[in-house]
């Protein structure tokens, strides 16, 4: 009896915390759907919902352009990072080559240095390349993700080496082995990495803020923070913009969550 009561309390506590976790997101949805004059009248949903905020968002601000910019940058970055990280991860996992040990150590040590240290010289480099205010500056430096290389190295290590050998005997080229044998085998890690890489780019703020100057190239985080300054009185529109900015990652997460949690924690627990 006492045990069951305790369990019930524990479970109710979990549910309560889950509700508290959801409340800000639910409030965000509710605020987006309120008529501008109702924003502070109801705590959550208003009885007469309105799409005015979304309408304003796409007419007063070039919101669609920012969404497209963010989609383009994030998707391109994910494809580039996925390709280069898995290729290098494969080489580290399944080949013996000169300098492999040194390279691995070297890469590990770079993960320990916070990114902000190199911010200034990286900006200077981009300036010299003439890449200020271009997407090259967002895509090229991030194309290889050291964290991603290690995720793939770890996943590919568990691919049976016999599989690779027999493919080689059958006449597959080295790249074919990577593309047709290895990558399909580590599909769950591909899912996890796609989400991690997408989130990283989609939510990225400091570097794009330094690089991008023209408003027609802004990604969502930059555009939204600019809007906060300009449209301070139009909370509803800002909330609608925030909601639409958050949604794509949430949807992607719902599709990839199983792979994601497994991929995220695999390194930490085994270590």
């Amino acid at each position: 009896m006492i045990l069951q009561a305790l369990r019930l309390v524990g479970w109710l506590l979990l549910v309560l915390i889950a509700i508290v976790t959801f409340v800000p997101m639910i409030w965000l949805l509710a605020a987006s759907l309120k008529a501008p004059e109702d924003l502070f009248s109801y705590t959550f949903f208003s009885p007469n919902p309105s799409m005015k905020n979304f309408y304003d968002l796409f007419t007063q601000v070039e919101f669609l352009r920012y969404v497209m910019n963010s989609v383009f940058v994030a998707c391109t970055a994910v494809v580039l990072q996925l390709f280069f990280s898995s290729l290098a991860g494969y080489a580290l996992a399944k080949y013996e080559f000169k300098g492999k040990y040194v390279l691995t150590l070297f890469m590990l040590s770079t993960m320990l240095i916070p990114g902000q240290v190199t911010l200034a010289p990286a900006y200077e480099l981009i300036y010299r390349f003439g890449w200020v205010d271009t997407y090259w500056a967002l895509l090229v430096p991030s194309a290889v993700n050291v964290f991603g290389i290690f995720l793939f190295r770890q996943a590919i290590m568990s691919v049976p080496t016999e599989l690779i050998h027999s493919a080689r005997v059958d006449g597959c080229s080295e790249f074919q082995i990577y593309w047709q044998i290895v990558m399909p085998t580590v599909r769950p890690m591909v899912g996890a990495f796609v989400l991690i890489a997408f989130m990283g780019q989609w939510n990225s703020f400091l570097w794009p803020q330094i690089i991008l100057h023209s408003s027609e190239r802004f990604t969502l985080p930059i555009a939204l923070t600019q809007m906060v300054g300009i449209y301070q009185q139009q909370y509803g529109m800002l909330m609608a913009g925030t909601l639409l900015s958050v949604l794509p990652v949430m949807v992607l997460f719902l599709f990839l969550q199983r792979e994601f949690v497994a991929g995220l924690t695999s390194g930490a627990v085994k270590g």
Binding site: G10, A18, Y178, A268
Partner: protein, 305 residues
């Protein structure tokens, strides 16, 4: 073409392939990783005005940095934030993970997703959302706190210097507790069940089992989470920047180290000084990480002995 020739060709492919596969990484890393790293050390001894015309000043950047009260204010703010974030998130994350790991909990996967979901939202978007949630009178935070513990409805969280940090810590608790929980849960799930069995046979109660089986078994995860959270907390920038209206807030109560770096490097245009700030932070984080690793090692050693 004879068979042996074909085999030799394939063998050569196997030799060359790994170099080709890591080549893109090495090229990009040398240009965008190694070069900026070396350059930032050099740059930190110069004063620059924009990306051109650097003037060598020796250790002047570091000397100025260490005597600038604003820098120390940023250090103090960031340290206070890191301390409170960890002090709240680690026990709560661990507690949630332990509850979720119990066999009797229904809907575990859903709850895990729920707790983790704020992690998906970028700091910028969280900042925009919470800057509205913290509004006096109408903001949800004030309404909820007024209804439950009776704090005044017109509390100006983001306008009173002494309330800025509590607001930031609360927001980060909402964002990150699920992140810690996911790691702790994965750690708990890998604990050997037989250890609990043995402890029960030895007559250990729940608390003793927690101290003598659970904690030692997840020690590596705990150390990892504390390290990652500390490093993450010390790099705080976007959340206060957005919540406080793209600035350090009232009386610079939300000025963090990275915000200080950004303001000096990119708003004021001195990339040399920004590099010096970056390296000071990197060295500070290295020292803190080493201390944490050392402490966790001592703790582990005592248990084994």
């Amino acid at each position: 073409m004879s068979r042996s020739e074909a085999r030799r060709k394939r063998w050569r492919g196997e030799k060359i392939a790994p170099y080709l596969f890591v080549a893109p990484f090495i090229v990009l890393f040398l240009v965008f990783g190694a070069y900026p790293l070396v350059k930032s050390v050099i740059l930190s001894f110069y004063i620059t005005n924009g990306p051109s015309d650097p003037v060598f000043v020796g250790a002047e950047n570091y000397r100025f940095l260490l005597t600038d009260p604003n820098f120390w204010k940023a250090v103090r703010n960031t340290a206070v934030y890191a301390f409170w974030s960890l002090a709240l998130q680690i026990p709560l994350g661990l507690g949630l993970a332990i509850l979720l790991n119990s066999s009797w909990v229904r809907g575990r996967n859903f709850l895990r997703l729920a707790f983790f979901s704020p992690n998906l939202v970028g700091q910028v978007f969280v900042g925009v959302l919470f800057s509205v949630l913290f509004v006096p009178q109408y903001g949800l935070v004030n309404k909820a706190l007024h209804a439950t513990i009776g704090t005044p409805l017109d509390t100006r969280w983001l306008a009173e210097p002494h309330l800025v940090m509590p607001a930031l810590v609360m927001t980060s608790l909402w964002m990150y507790v699920g992140f810690q929980m996911v790691y702790f849960l994965a750690g708990l799930q890998s604990v050997d069940k037989e250890l609990y069995e043995a402890a029960r046979i030895d007559g250990a109660n729940n608390w003793q089992q927690f101290l003598n089986v659970t904690l030692p078994s997840i020690r590596h995860v705990l150390v990892f989470v504390v390290l990652v959270s500390t490093i993450g907390s010390f790099q705080l920038f976007e959340l206060p920047w957005v919540m406080l209206g793209r600035g350090p807030g009232p009386d610079s109560a939300g000025l963090t180290i990275i915000m200080y770096l950004y303001l000096n490097g990119y708003v004021a245009g001195d990339l040399g000084y920004a590099s010096a700030v970056g390296w000071t932070l990197a060295l500070g984080l290295l020292v803190i990480s080493l201390i944490q690793l050392r402490m966790s090692g001592v703790w582990g050693g005592r248990r084994a002995g």
